[in-house]
């Protein structure tokens, strides 16, 4: 019985006003002018960032987790 109740809990919460357990997005779209500035992107220019990742990967044993611009160049 307890098991069945636990399985039903998500559905009940979904139907019964789950807003109470979820935080609201705390930065509104109109508050993102600083973040929209190009200087705030992790890598502004993919062609240049991809090259630096290639330089590191060719001379260091570590590979992966470079972020959006890296990984999988198909070369050793």
């Amino acid at each position: 019985m307890t098991k069945r109740a636990l399985l039903l809990l998500p559905a009940l919460l979904l139907l019964g006003g789950c807003e109470s357990i979820m935080p609201e997005p705390w930065v509104q779209p109109y508050e993102r002018h600083y973040l929209a500035d190009p200087i705030m992107s992790f890598e502004r220019d993919p062609v240049a960032a991809g090259f630096m990742n290639h330089v590191y990967e060719a001379r260091e044993a570590a590979r992966g987790a470079e972020g959006g611009s890296g990984g999988g160049c198909g070369c050793n």
């Binding site: 930065v27 200087i39 705030m40 590979r63 992966g64």
Partner: protein, 392 residues
């Protein structure tokens, strides 16, 4: 049935997470396609007796409101003689051509992407295909991305037409980008890579003590395991300062089944000079690595271990990099095709300092240094990126 407090808490947390995800996936607003742009780069790496340079051209163009196509042509022209070549081979010149195409398809808040890369050298052919998906949610404060790639390589050896090795590479990555405040954004990246097949360089040798040799040592071919599994996790954050400038910090931890472990840390400072149409950038990067279990600068005798390597990239070493660069926003009166154009110049200086890779070139001068007593090797490199970018 007894339900422990821990189970209840973890179950509640999981339920909350799932509901949270479902709710925000369904209510977040649409994502956007990447910017349409053309980048023309000249790159150069010069250090350790080797120069590698060439062009890279990247173009990205949208078709309609949902599809973005990209293509990249990249060339490495390699010349010179690294320390390995100076010790055991002759100078050489070669070229690597890499061609990539990609497509992104935007569906509401999700972007799906496909990519194909072909890399070609006279003794190495590689093909990689990739699939990725990313999703904005939680009011666009969060972006979750998943990516998988599969690569297939053919390895040849010049001067030995009978030699053909094959390797496969599988990469799986997960990224979580999160806006934390109006001035702070962070990203968590995790990537696991599985390699299988012929993974060593067919030209490279290890050295071992050999009393019958005049120098006291001889060389034999490297031999690597045929599998390698690695995991990397990185956390990076960018913060907008009280004035118009930004600082970035990044930490990455890496470990693999060959016993290699590494950490790297990077700091970057970006400072625009609006009146001069300039964006200046400075960078510091530190990398420290513990080498592979089967690496040795000098093995005690021939066939001393099951696997053997003397590739300095698999040794214990540190590298330190300092970099500076500038982006110049071309004024409207000079802008090509009346578009936004930038001219960019970035320079990095990297010092590689090896702990257990010795400089055997001391023997070339006839010095009577005992094998293993040679000085540790180090070198510095200059890395230049000069490029022009234009937005359509």
């Amino acid at each position: 049935m007894v339900v422990t407090k821990e189970f209840r808490e973890s179950y509640y947390a999981l339920t909350k997470f799932l509901l949270f995800s479902v709710f925000f996936v369904s209510t977040a607003k649409a994502a956007v396609l990447p910017e349409e742009r053309l980048d023309t780069l000249y790159h150069s790496y010069s250090g350790g007796g080797v120069t590698i340079d060439g062009p890279s051209i990247l173009v990205r163009k949208n078709i309609g409101n949902n599809v973005s196509l990209s293509a990249n042509y990249y060339v490495d022209m390699i010349s010179g003689a690294s320390i390995d070549v100076q010790a055991t081979a002759s100078r050489y010149t070669e070229q690597r051509d890499e061609f990539s195409v990609g497509a992104d398809y935007l569906v509401d808040k999700a972007t799906m992407s496909l990519s194909y890369t072909n890399s070609s050298e006279n003794d190495y052919q590689a093909e990689t295909v990739g699939f990725g998906i990313s999703q904005d949610f939680f009011g666009d404060l969060s972006t979750l991305s998943l990516r998988a790639t599969y690569g297939s390589d053919d390895v040849m050896r010049n001067g030995d037409e009978d030699f053909l090795g094959h390797a496969e590479h599988r990469r799986y990555s997960l990224g979580w980008s999160q806006i934390l405040t109006t001035k702070l954004i962070a990203e968590l990246s995790v990537e696991t890579v599985a390699d299988e097949g012929f993974l060593n360089n067919p030209y490279r040798s290890v050295r071992y003590l050999d009393p019958s040799s005049a120098l006291g040592f001889s060389y034999q071919a490297e031999l690597y395991p045929t599998t390698r599994n690695s995991d990397a996790v990185a956390l990076r954050a960018k913060y907008r300062l009280p004035y118009r400038a930004a600082v970035k910090t990044e930490y990455r931890r890496y470990a693999d089944s060959w016993g290699i472990q590494s950490d790297n840390l990077e700091f970057r400072y970006t400072h625009p000079l609006e009146s001069e149409n300039l964006i200046l950038e400075g960078k510091l990067r530190f990398y420290k690595q513990k080498g592979a279990d089967f690496y040795s600068d000098l093995f005690p005798y021939v066939d001393a271990t099951n696997f053997r390597a003397r590739d300095k990239e698999l040794s214990d070493f540190t590298s330190t990099a300092i970099g500076f660069g500038a982006t110049y926003l071309v004024p409207d009166r000079w802008a090509l095709f009346d578009r936004k154009n930038t001219l960019n110049l970035y320079w990095d200086y990297v010092l590689f300092d090896y702990e257990n890779f010795h400089d055997v070139r001391v023997h070339n001068g006839g010095d009577s240094v005992l094998p293993g007593d040679e000085p540790a090797y180090n070198f510095n490199a200059h890395v230049v990126r000069a490029y022009w970018s234009m937005w359509f």
